[in-house]
Structure formats: structure tokens, C-alpha cells
């Protein structure tokens, strides 16, 4: 089974994000990390590969020159990576990301494409569905439990009121939630091996995209204004001395909910 796992490198979420004053894009440092939500996709990929004599290839688009996050996913056990790292991709819309990833995945061939439900640093949350439409395959999204084999994949899909069991033939795209599996930690051996694993570097041009198709020019949208929102201010902060619950009761009384 050929398994493609989409991963994203993002600025460390523990540090405050900065916006570039001119482009309004998030400033991306050299040392980006693997998006935590992608560790679940990698883990699902590895488990399905182990059960189905499969291979796991990572696919990532990143206009930053960063490799740290890709190495993290390779250290978990993925076999190799295809990285589309190209300055021309800066400012690309989610649809461009999906087109570029789909083109790279199609070039390698696939039975199953796995992605996280949404990235931590973005907010669109539609890339897996866009990839599915471009590749003309079913999209099994919001999956919280996954089984695959015998040419089909079965998931539990989160719904507003519970969950549905959904079945699909392969090939397919799978978007997993973080509840699907417990991701493994890389072993020392895995970390050492990751340094030797192949990373194919591609440009958007290698996949047949022109400069006007990608980046800000190809995004079909333009950011006209950005402004900080006057946020809530921190109120009173107290250390619990064994009586903090009484302070809470007093505030609840003030708000008249009790």
C-alpha cells in the first residue's frame, strides 16, 4: 500500500507569531517545527503501512528552507519525503497548496493520502477536501478511528451529534483528527536514521506550475487591511491558598448567575 502523508512545518506555536508588515503573511523562521496535529496523520500512516506492507512518503510544501519538521516526521518512521520548497509559493492560498501537493502525490502514485484536519497556524481547513477533488477520489474527513485493508478504508467520522461509520474503496484521501491514535515518539535510532533518509526537493515549476499560478498572484484574493484587535485584559490573578473557591463564589454572586 502506497501511503502519502501531508505534513506542514510551522513556526513554534509556543512563540508569539509575527506578521510581515508589508505582505501581512506570518513570518516563517528557519527553524520551523512539525505541526503537532500532523503527528497523528504520520502515526496513522505508519500503522496502516505496518499492517499492509506499505510505504509512507511525506509530502510538504514550504517556502522557508526549513527541514527540522520534516526530519521529525522521518524520525517517527516515514520512509522518505518530497518537499516542495520554493520562494514563489509564498502567500499561496489553500487551493494552491492543495494543487501543488496533489501534483506531487500523483507523480509518486498513491493508494491513500492522509492529512490532518487543519493546520495549527492557518484557519482554512479545506486542503484535504481540495486534494481529494483534484485527485478525483473520496475524502474521508474528520476521522477519529481508521481501519484499512483489502482495497478499502473504514472510518468513524465525527458529526455534530455523534459519529458515522463511513466506508470507501481505495484510493482515497483521509483527514484525521488528533483523537485517532497516540503518536509514537521518535527513538534515538529513528532520529539517526532520519538524517540518511531521502528528501526529494521540487520547485513549483518542476510540477508544471507557472509563477502566476502560485503565491500571492495565483491566490485569487488580496489582503486589504490587517489590524490588531483590542483584546481582553487580564483581570485579577490569585494563588490558591485553600480559600480561592470563596473568591469564585463571590464573583459568581456579582454576576448574578447564583
Amino acid at each position: 500500500m502506497k501511503i502519502a502523508v501531508c505534513v506542514k512545518q510551522i513556526p513554534d506555536p509556543a512563540t508569539p507569531y509575527e506578521l510581515d508588515a508589508e505582505s501581512h503573511l506570518v513570518v516563517r523562521p528557519q527553524d520551523q517545527v512539525l505541526d503537532d496535529t500532523d503527528r497523528y496523520g504520520v502515526e496513522v500512516g505508519l500503522q496502516l503501512a505496518e499492517a499492509n506492507e506499505g510505504t509512507v512518503t511525506l509530502f510538504s510544501m514550504s517556502p522557508s528552507g526549513s527541514l527540522q519538521g520534516i526530519r521529525q516526521a522521518l524520525a517517527m518512521g516515514a520512509d522518505k519525503a518530497v518537499l516542495i520548497d520554493d520562494q514563489a509559493l509564498r502567500g499561496s492560498a489553500a487551493l494552491t497548496t492543495a494543487r501543488v501537493l496533489a501534483a506531487a502525490i500523483e507523480r509518486e502514485g498513491f493508494d491513500l493520502v492522509i492529512a490532518g484536519t487543519e493546520s495549527t497556524d492557518g484557519y482554512t481547513g479545506v486542503v484535504p477536501q481540495q486534494i481529494a477533488e483534484i485527485l478525483d477520489v473520496p475524502a474521508l474527513s474528520f476521522a477519529r478511528r481508521v481501519e484499512a485493508g483489502d482495497g478499502k478504508v473504514t472510518i468513524e467520522r465525527q458529526t455534530a451529534t455523534g459519529y458515522d461509520v463511513v466506508e470507501s474503496p481505495l484510493p482515497a484521501v483521509l483527514a484525521v483528527t488528533a483523537g485517532s491514535v497516540e503518536p509514537r515518539y521518535p527513538t534515538f535510532k529513528g532520529i539517526m536514521q532520519a538524517k540518511q533518509k531521502p528528501i526529494d526537493n521540487l520547485t513549483a515549476g518542476d510540477l508544471g506550475f507557472g509563477d502566476d499560478d502560485v503565491g500571492i498572484a495565483g491566490s485569487g484574493q488580496s489582503i486589504t487591511a490587517v489590524a490588531p484587535i483590542a483584546g481582553r485584559q487580564a483581570g485579577e490573578i490569585i494563588e490558591d491558598d485553600g480559600e480561592a473557591h470563596l473568591r469564585i463564589v463571590a464573583l459568581l454572586e456579582e454576576t448574578k448567575v447564583i
Binding site: 487551493l95 479545506v126 477536501q129 451529534t161 461509520v165 484574493q221 483581570g235 490558591d240 469564585i248
Partner: protein, 315 residues
């Protein structure tokens, strides 16, 4: 200006987001709804009452609705394109928006909290609600927009039942070959999370699912609803229907009590507009304290039981 709104039926009703978006769209132009589901009379009447003049209804049967719905919408907007197609944040909404985006070659303008048309401009909150961004659609119509829950008020203006056209699910080949084989409803007790006056939410800091009863008991004592972070939903402690945040529910109760919640950006987006925020967390540096009116640094497992006892003693 024509605007198309996506709606999905659950338990005989149109989605809350569809009613909110129909109300907003009715202020901007003429509203057509693309409604997926059984097509009950109640659901159609609700859409009309909120300002929809016509509804295209498609029943996807046991197939996952997104591939056929996206194809049918693409057919609908192919000729005289509406200015925009509006979606909520529901899972099916996002599936259809993504597929339609790829089919039409249009970007998705996401996380909208405000919207204007001619040209289509969307206001979104980014970076956990710390910044506001205005994005303009520069391609040919329709612009595709995903709006945040409660960005717009649902306004029942008593409009008449809309004219309804049945749409057959188009044949989409292998894209449409995923089928729903079982449906499970996870029953919820207590007040509606999105309408409750008090919400008590729990996060990883509770230590484990065995301590979840603390959240439930505190909520019950305050006649409040129970909420959860994505982390504990993902960990399987509680169902997704309790999730508060960017990809869950947006709540604006009078009082929000966050227990064992550190305050990930994606959680705070869903609750930062609450009236009074009370946070209990052992980590003094937790971001949740940055927006709390009262922050208590301490052990949830010590404080919450005492709080429950104190509330019981009052009543």
C-alpha cells in the same frame, strides 16, 4: 445581487449556520439556499422565515454528501453566478466548500466574522483572535466564504415558505464512492451549550477522564452546560459535540469557567467573548490567564470539589 447559502439538515432542522447566513445574506441581496438532507417541511419553512426566496434541495441518501453537493452547486452557479456562496463551519460545510473550491478554481475566504459584497470582502480574526484581517476576493464570482458560528444573528422575519426545486445527486464517479454504513447519535444531557447562561469547560489539566465528573457536577450546580477543549475531545474523554473553539462551538455565556485549560489559540477563539471568564489552572503562565477576569493558580482537583461544596451549602 444573488447569494447562495449552504444548508445541511439535522433532525428535521436546517443548520444553525444556514439560518444565520440566510439572515445576513437577505440584508445584502436575494438569497437562494442549497439544502442537503431529507428536506422536511420544517427545515424549508425555517429557511423561508429567515429570508430565503428559493431552495434547491438534494437528498444524498447514504453517500457522503460533499462530492455530489459540490458538483450540483457548481452546475447551479455555472451560468449566472451569484456574488458569493456562503458556508458555516460544520464538517459537511467544510467538505463541500473545499471540493467546490477545487472544482471552480476559487479560493475559500475562511473564518469570516463580517461580510460585504460588491466587491466581496470578508473580515476574519486570525492568530487566535488577536488580529483582524480584511480579504477581498479578486477572482470571478462566486466568491466562496466560510463564516464563523454566531458571526451573524439568525433573524426570523416571518418570510413565506420558499419555492423549492429538487436536485438529483449528480453522478460524480469514484469521488462519490464513500458511503455511510452506520449512524450513531451520542445523547447529551443538560442545557444547550451554545445557549447556556453558564458554561463550565474542562481541559487536559483535569488529569484524566476519571476527573471529568468534576466539570459535570460544577455545571449542574450552576444550571450550566458542559464544554471541552479539542485536546480532551481528541483524547476521547467526551464527544465532539462538547468542543468549544475554532473547529467546535462558539459560546458567549454570562459566565465561562475554564478548568484545567491552558488556553490554546484555537480554544480561546470560541469563548473569548464570554461575559465573565474564570480560569483555574496550575500553570501561572497559561495563556488563559491573559483573558480571564479571575484567574486562580492552583490544583483543579482541590479547588473544584470545594467550589461545588460551597455552592451546595448556599442553596
Amino acid at each position: 445581487m444573488a447569494i447562495l447559502v449552504f444548508s445541511e439538515e439535522t433532525d428535521g432542522h436546517a443548520s444553525a449556520s444556514a439560518l444565520e447566513l440566510t439572515s445576513k445574506a437577505a440584508q445584502l441581496g436575494e438569497v437562494t439556499v442549497f439544502h442537503v438532507g431529507e428536506g422536511s417541511a420544517d427545515a424549508l419553512a425555517e429557511l423561508g422565515a429567515h429570508g430565503a426566496t428559493s431552495v434547491h434541495h438534494m437528498d444524498p441518501g447514504d453517500g457522503l454528501p460533499a462530492p455530489t453537493a459540490a458538483a450540483a452547486i457548481a452546475d447551479l452557479v455555472g451560468g449566472d453566478a451569484p456574488a458569493a456562496v456562503l458556508f458555516g463551519m460544520g464538517n459537511t460545510d467544510r467538505d463541500v466548500a473545499g471540493r467546490l473550491s477545487a472544482r471552480l478554481g476559487r479560493p475559500v475566504l475562511a473564518a469570516a466574522v463580517d461580510l460585504s459584497i460588491d466587491p466581496v470582502r470578508v473580515t476574519s480574526e486570525i492568530l487566535g483572535g488577536t488580529h483582524q484581517i480584511i480579504t477581498e476576493a479578486t477572482d470571478q464570482p462566486p466568491a466562496l466564504v466560510i463564516a464563523r458560528p454566531k458571526a451573524f444573528a439568525a433573524d426570523d422575519t416571518g418570510g413565506p415558505a420558499p419555492s423549492t426545486t429538487a436536485v438529483a445527486a449528480p453522478d460524480v464517479g469514484r469521488s462519490g464512492s464513500a458511503v455511510v454504513v452506520e449512524r450513531h447519535v451520542e445523547e447529551q444531557e443538560g442545557p444547550d451549550l451554545e445557549a447556556a447562561n453558564v458554561v463550565v469547560s474542562g481541559g487536559r489539566g483535569l488529569g484524566g477522564p476519571d476527573n471529568w465528573h468534576l466539570v459535570e457536577e460544577l455545571a449542574a450546580e450552576l444550571d450550566g452546560a458542559v464544554g471541552a477543549t479539542r485536546a480532551v475531545v481528541d483524547a476521547g474523554w467526551v464527544p465532539y459535540s462538547l468542543q468549544v473553539g475554532q473547529t467546535g462551538k462558539t459560546v458567549k455565556p454570562t459566565v465561562y469557567i475554564a478548568t484545567g485549560i491552558s488556553g490554546a489559540m484555537q480554544h480561546m477563539v470560541g469563548m473569548k467573548d464570554s461575559g465573565t471568564i474564570i480560569a483555574i489552572n496550575k500553570d501561572a503562565d497559561a495563556p488563559i490567564f491573559g483573558i480571564a477576569d479571575l484567574g486562580v493558580v492552583g490544583d483543579v482537583q482541590q479547588i473544584v470539589p470545594k467550589l461545588i461544596e460551597a455552592l451546595k451549602a448556599r442553596s
